[in-house]
């Protein structure tokens, strides 16, 4: 037993409980006048907890917490934990502004959000299918609550669709895990890998693999399992949409990598073809369905499906380089999508709609927000010299290097198509006439954070070397 390895998770969990207790006492004692500052206080407590969690991750040694592999703290997990804590901070900064006038129940929101972040942290550390399933459900169940949190009609609708699809796919995933457990007699991913490497496979293996692929396919939102994505993204409060598009997807990819690269690497030939088909379908349908969308959150939902397709290329490659490209791309993608949704959250407070028409003439109302949107969208589209370009460059270059030239070509074609619909948003912001020319103002904190995001995108785009090498160091030596 080595509980010190769990310090970051314990800190996040304690912060969540603290937020709940502080909210309880604040609500009791004070009148309506001071509630606004106390609600802000809850957000600051949550941010402080996440920053403390980051320091804890830095100080935590590698190792196994419980002797078995149910909690593995390796460089792979630590890379993602930094990412989740960072995403959490940005989502909370955005939520503090977004929630202010929309609901009075802030404590529970931050509580559930922190617990979901803790779930993602456990997820990347899970080296064993039981802890993996439990932490995956921690993420999912919390997300259902958060999507429907504001109890708007669309939020509830998104929540119900997310819940029913999510529960269905987790049942399918569980059945698949059951089959794999029955074949190998163990739930440790490493043990499964060793067993399958011996070449003694049962005939039920493809069935188990297909079920597990379906379960993870739902979480990463790849094509035949994507129906929940537009609904949940559109209905959810915008900061939660940002969280689903970044942390939830990143965590699911991390788990996907661990299970398939550590557990099923010995039977690559059984699933590579399926993955290639999923990858091409996801890139094609995700990007093509984004074109006719008129709602900006729906458009970004389909584009995030398309990004899952690019990321699957890295999993098809499956080498250390390919995986490091995936990890690097996840970082870059999360940063850009968070920036975009923060801008959308600020703007939606004033124009009260998420339709792209509402963004017409935004250039006159807030040049800064438009610049931020421009840079983040250009990064997502993969234009140099931004971070998104380097992300796509590494991914496609390693794909060519590994002999998957056609995947790189298809990816390149669809990322060119994505430029079209991203620039449709920019066109309405920059070149259309505004109906209402009032200035959009927002807090200096958000401005600082948005400037940092933009600087980050430029920095990673111009000097990607240190980031990609830290990603390469974080890929465990599973082979």
């Amino acid at each position: 037993m080595n509980y010190t390895l769990l310090t970051p998770e314990i800190i996040v969990c304690c912060t969540a409980l603290l937020v709940l207790v502080v909210d309880l006492f604040m609500a009791q004692g004070e009148g309506a006048k001071s509630t606004k500052s106390t609600k802000k206080l809850l957000g600051w407590i949550a941010i402080a907890g996440l920053v403390a969690g980051m320091f804890a991750v830095y100080n935590t040694p590698e190792g196994l917490a419980f002797g078995n592999r149910s909690f593995v703290n390796d460089t792979f997990a630590m890379y993602f934990k930094y990412l989740f804590l960072g995403i959490g901070i940005l989502v909370i900064v955005s939520s503090m502004d977004y929630l202010a006038e929309r609901t009075t129940h802030h404590g529970e929101y931050y509580f559930v959000l922190l617990l979901v972040i803790m779930g993602t942290m456990f997820m990347v550390s899970a080296g064993e299918l039981i802890s993996l399933y439990v932490s995956l459900e921690m993420l999912s169940v919390g997300s259902y609550v958060l999507v429907a949190y504001l109890r708007t009609r669309q939020g509830i609708e998104g929540g119900i669709k997310y819940l029913l699809f999510g529960a269905f796919c987790s049942a399918v995933l569980l059945y698949g895990i059951g089959i794999i457990y029955g074949l190998t007699g163990t739930t440790e991913i490493k043990g499964i890998g060793e067993f399958l490497n011996q070449g003694d496979k049962g005939c039920a293996l493809p069935l188990g693999l297909a079920f597990i692929l379906a379960g993870f396919g739902f979480k990463i939102a790849c094509i035949p399992f994507h129906f929940w994505v537009p609904e949940a993204y559109e209905g959810a409060p915008t900061p939660i949409t940002a969280f689903l598009a970044s942390a939830s997807k990143v965590a699911s990819f991390a788990v996907f990598i661990r299970v398939f690269m550590e557990g099923f690497i010995g039977i690559r030939q059984e699933w590579t073809m399926a993955l290639i088909i999923l990858c091409i379908l996801t890139m094609a349908i995700g990007n093509l369905s984004a074109i006719p969308q008129t709602n900006i959150k729906r458009l970004l939902a389909y584009s995030s499906i398309g990004h899952a397709g690019y990321l699957l290329i890295g999993l098809v490659i499956g080498t250390v380089n390919g995986l490091s490209a995936v990890m690097f791309y996840l970082l870059v993608y999360a940063l850009a999508i968070l920036g975009i949704f923060m801008v959308i959250a600020i703007i939606s407070k004033r124009i009260d709609t998420d339709e792209i028409e509402g963004y017409e003439g935004m250039y006159k109302r807030s040049p800064f927000l438009c610049l931020c949107m421009l840079i983040c969208l250009a990064s997502l589209a993969g234009l140099p010299p931004l971070a998104g370009f380097m992300g796509k460059f590494y991914l496609f270059a390693y794909a060519v290097h590994a002999g998957y030239i056609y995947l790189a070509v298809i990816g390149f074609i669809f990322s060119t198509i994505s430029v079209y619909y991203y620039f449709r948003i920019l066109k309405s912001m920059y070149f259309m006439e505004a109906k209402d020319e009032s200035i959009i103002s927002f807090s200096p904190l958000l401005k600082v954070v948005l400037i940092l995001i933009m600087l980050g995108l430029f920095l990673i785009g111009i000097l990607p070397q240190s980031f990609i090498s830290s990603a390469i160091e974080s890929v465990p030596k599973w082979y």
Binding site: R151, E157, G159, V172, Y175, Y181, G182
Partner: protein
């Protein structure tokens, strides 16, 4: 009793669950069908634990975790369905289609 019987039973339950999810239009019934699928997986775990891995009880432990998570999922699910009923006066999933699928 051999392992195959348990696996057949669990496969039947799983298929019934999928059938229910696809055919039923009432959100609560869909949730119930999903429970059936999860329990099918539980039968698998317990059977495998007894026949494949009798010393470690991993499957039994997994089942206990799954039952607890199922309960949490249903609690959240029913809460969301309840608030949907307050908004739309219906829990038929075909009525819950403000946004296009």
């Amino acid at each position: 009793m051999c392992l195959t019987n348990y696996l057949i039973l669990s496969a039947i339950f799983f298929c019934l669950g999928i059938y229910g999810v696809l055919v039923r239009r009432n959100a609560v019934m869909i949730l119930l069908s999903i429970e059936l699928m999860l329990n099918a997986a539980n039968i698998n775990f317990v059977a495998f634990s007894k026949y494949v891995d009798p010393n470690m009880l991993t499957g039994h432990i997994f089942t206990i975790f799954v039952i607890a998570i199922e309960a949490a999922e249903v609690a959240v699910g029913l809460a969301i369905i309840l608030s949907a009923y307050r908004h739309m006066k219906s829990i038929n999933v075909e009525d819950i289609n403000l946004m296009k699928w």
